[in-house]
Amino acid sequence: MIEVDHLRKTFGGLTAVNDISFTAHPGEIFGLLGPNGAGKTTTIGCISGLLTPTGGHVRIMGHDVVREGPAARRVLGVVPQEISLYEDLSAVENLNYWGGAQGLRNPLLRQRIREVLEITGLQDRAREPVKQFSGGMRRRLNFACGIVHQPKVLLLDEPTVGVDPQSRVRLLDLVRAQAQAGACVLYTTHYMEEAETLCHHLAIVDHGNVIAAGTLAELRALLAERDLLRLSGIFRPDAAKAALQPIDGAEILQADENLLILALPEASLRLPAIFSALAAAGAEVRGATLTQPSLESLFIKLTGKELRE
C-alpha cells in the first residue's frame, strides 16, 4: 500500500508538488495522470526516497520513506522513466546485480532471473550485452530489473515512453500481471489511452495538485456523459458565445479567436444547429473534432488545455 498525505516538494522558489494526497492499495493499478511538468516524476522521486519531501508524509506498506527509508525501499520496485541499465553487461548480469542489490541470493536469485527473462521474452538474448538490444528490449529489461525481487509496491514512471506498439502491449500486460499477483502498482503516464485501459484508480495532477481522483467511471461521470467538440477557424469569442447560448446543454469550455471547445450531450446530432448558429454570428469554421467522453476530455474540461501540451 502507498499512502501519500499532503505531499509537498519545492526546489528553491519552484514548487514542483504543491499538495498531493492519494492511497493506492495492493492488487490495484493506481494511475497518476498529468502533462509533462505536472509533478508526477517528483512525486515518484519522493515515494522512492530519491527526494526528501518538503512537507507531508509518504508511507510504503506502513513504513515512512523518510524515517524508515531502507525498510520502505526493501519492499519497493522502481522502473524509472529513463533506461537505467549497464549497457556493457548482459541482461543476466544486470538482473544479477539489481537482484543482489535488493537482497536476493542464489538459488532464489537465479530462479527469479530465469522467470523475469521468460516473462519479458528476453531469454534468447539473455547473454548479449544490453547495448545490442533494441529500444523495446531495453524497456522490457528495465522493467525486469524493477520486478526481479517481486516487490510488494511497484513504481512505474512512464515506462512506455518511446516504445514500439508491440513492446508497449507486452509491457502493459506485464504491469497487469504484477497487480494480479498482488502488488500495489503506481503508474504515471501522460498517455490517456494507457491510463484508461490499465488503471483501476486514477489521480489527475496538474501544477503539483490533484485536480480530480477516483475510478475511471467516477471520473467519466464528472463529464456527465457529454461529448467534447473542438472547432477551429476564425471566431469572435463574444459573438460565438452568444450564438451558442440557445443550444441546449452546451457548455463552452474555451473560446478564443481560433479555437472553440464545447461540452454537450449527443453532439453529433446537433452539429448542423451549431454550424448554423456560428455562421450567423460571422464565424468561419475550418475544422471540427468530436470526442466521446474520456479522460482526455475530462482533463480539458478541468484544466482548459490539452494533456500533451
Binding site: 530519491l50 522502481v78 542489490a101 537482497g103 550485452p129 530489473c145
Partner: protein, 374 residues
C-alpha cells in the same frame, strides 16, 4: 557483504567488457617510458665521469699531474672540476662524482727536493670503470715523475717518494639504475591515470541512470561507495603485482620487497582514487568534471615526481613536489625499493594519506546523498 560480492562481480565484468579506459591509463606511462628509454638509449656510448680536484699546491707540478685528463680520449670521458678539500670530500661522499683527488700543498717543492709526498684519491664505489681509469692514469703520471727524475740523472728514491694513495669512500647511498630512477615515476603516473579514469566512472553511472536506481534500492550510498573503493583497491593490487614483476624482469628495476611495494601501491592508489572521486563529483556537468580532472592531474603528476623523477628536477620544484600526496607516496615507494624505509616516516605518511582518503570519502558520500545521485 553480499552486495559487495555482487558489486565486485559487476565492476569486474564492466572492466573486462570495456578495458579501453583502463588500458589507456596504463598505456600513457608505458609509452612515455619507452620514449624516454629511446631518448637515453641514443646517447653516445662513451661514459662521462667527473673528477673533483682540490689543488692545494697550485703550482706547475700540480697542474702537470692533471695534464693527461685534458687530452683526448680522456678529456671526452672525464671532466675536471676544481673544488676545495672539504667540498670535494662532501661531494664524493654523496656520490656526486667519479673520484676526488687531493693534491697537497708542497707537492712541487717535494718533487724538486726529492722529498716524500702523498696524493690522495677517493673513488665512488657505485661506479666501476671511470674511477679505475682515473686511478690508472694518475698511477702512470706518478710513474712518469719517477722516470723524469731518473732522466735528469738524479738518483731516484727507492721506493718512489710520490705516492698515490687510493681510498674508496663508504657507500652511503645505493646505486640507482635508469630503471630504478625512472620506472617508479611511470608506475605512479599510471596510478594517477587509473584513479582519474575510475573516478570519472561515477559520471558514467549518473548518465546511465544506474546511480539513481541504486539510490532507490535498499543499498545505502555508503555501501555502494565502499564496494567501488574495494574494487579499485583490488585492481591496484593486480596492477602493482604485474607492474612490479614486469619492471623487475624486463627493465631490471630492483624490487627487494614485492609484497610491501605492492601493498604501498594499492594503498596509495586507492587514496588517489578517493581524491579524484571527490573532485569528480564537484562540478555540475560531466564535461566540467573532465576538464577539472585534467587541470589537476597533469600539474600534480609533473610536480609530484610522476612525470620526471625528483632526481631530475630542480631543487625548488622537488621542494614543492614533496608536498603533494603523490610526492609523499613516491618518496616512500622509492625508500621501499631501496630498502631504506624509516618505519616512523612511512607510518606518518600512511596515516596522513589515510586521513585524506577518509575525508575525501565522507565528502563524496555527502555529495552523492545531496543530489548528485538523483
Amino acid at each position: 557483504m553480499h552486495f559487495l560480492a555482487v558489486s565486485l562481480r559487476k565492476d569486474w565484468a564492466r572492466t573486462r567488457r570495456d578495458p579501453f579506459q583502463f588500458l589507456v591509463s596504463l598505456g600513457i606511462p608505458l609509452v612515455l617510458a619507452v620514449l624516454m628509454s629511446l631518448v637515453f638509449g641514443r646517447e653516445p656510448a662513451t661514459p662521462r665521469g667527473l673528477l673533483l680536484v682540490a689543488d692545494e699546491d697550485n703550482t706547475i707540478a700540480s697542474t702537470r699531474m692533471l695534464e693527461a685528463f685534458h687530452r683526448e680520449p680522456l678529456s671526452k670521458m672525464i671532466g675536471i672540476e676544481k673544488v676545495t678539500r672539504d667540498a670535494g670530500r662532501a661531494r664524493i661522499d654523496r656520490g656526486d662524482a667519479s673520484a676526488f683527488l687531493l693534491l697537497p700543498k708542497g707537492l712541487q717543492m717535494a718533487f724538486l727536493l726529492n722529498l716524500p709526498v702523498q696524493l690522495q684519491l677517493f673513488t665512488n664505489p657505485t661506479e666501476r670503470i671511470l674511477p679505475q681509469m682515473i686511478q690508472e692514469t694518475l698511477s702512470i703520471t706518478v710513474d712518469a715523475a719517477f722516470y723524469l727524475r731518473r732522466a735528469n740523472f738524479v738518483p731516484p728514491p727507492n721506493p718512489p717518494l710520490i705516492d698515490l694513495e687510493t681510498a674508496v669512500v663508504r657507500e652511503n647511498k645505493p646505486a640507482r639504475s635508469f630503471a630504478a630512477v625512472f620506472l617508479p615515476s611511470m608506475l605512479f603516473m599510471g596510478l594517477l591515470f587509473i584513479a582519474s579514469g575510475a573516478a570519472a566512472d561515477i559520471w558514467r553511472e549518473r548518465m546511465l541512470g544506474t546511480l539513481r536506481r541504486i539510490a532507490s534500492s535498499p543499498v545505502s550510498m555508503a555501501s555502494y561507495l565502499v564496494a567501488r573503493v574495494v574494487f579499485v583497491s583490488i585492481l591496484y593490487v593486480v596492477v602493482a603485482l604485474v607492474g612490479l614483476v614486469a619492471a623487475n624482469r624486463m627493465a631490471g628495476m630492483p624490487v627487494p620487497n614485492l609484497p610491501a611495494a605492492a601493498l604501498w601501491i594499492a594503498f596509495t592508489g586507492t587514496i588517489f582514487y578517493l581524491l579524484f572521486l571527490w573532485i569528480s563529483v564537484q562540478p555540475a556537468t560531466q564535461r566540467a568534471a573532465s576538464v577539472l580532472g585534467n587541470l589537476i592531474i597533469f600539474p600534480l603528476a609533473m610536480l609530484g615526481g610522476c612525470f620526471f623523477p625528483f632526481e631530475w628536477m630542480p631543487a625548488w620544484m622537488v621542494a614543492i613536489g614533496k608536498l603533494t600526496p603523490n610526492g609523499w607516496a613516491i618518496s616512500q615507494f622509492k625508500a621501499i625499493l631501496d630498502g631504506t624505509v624509516d618505519a616512523g616516516r612511512i607510518a606518518a605518511t600512511a596515516a596522513l594519506m589515510a586521513a585524506l582518503g577518509a575525508l575525501a570519502f565522507l565528502l563524496t558520500l555527502r555529495r552523492l546523498r545531496r543530489g548528485f545521485a538523483v
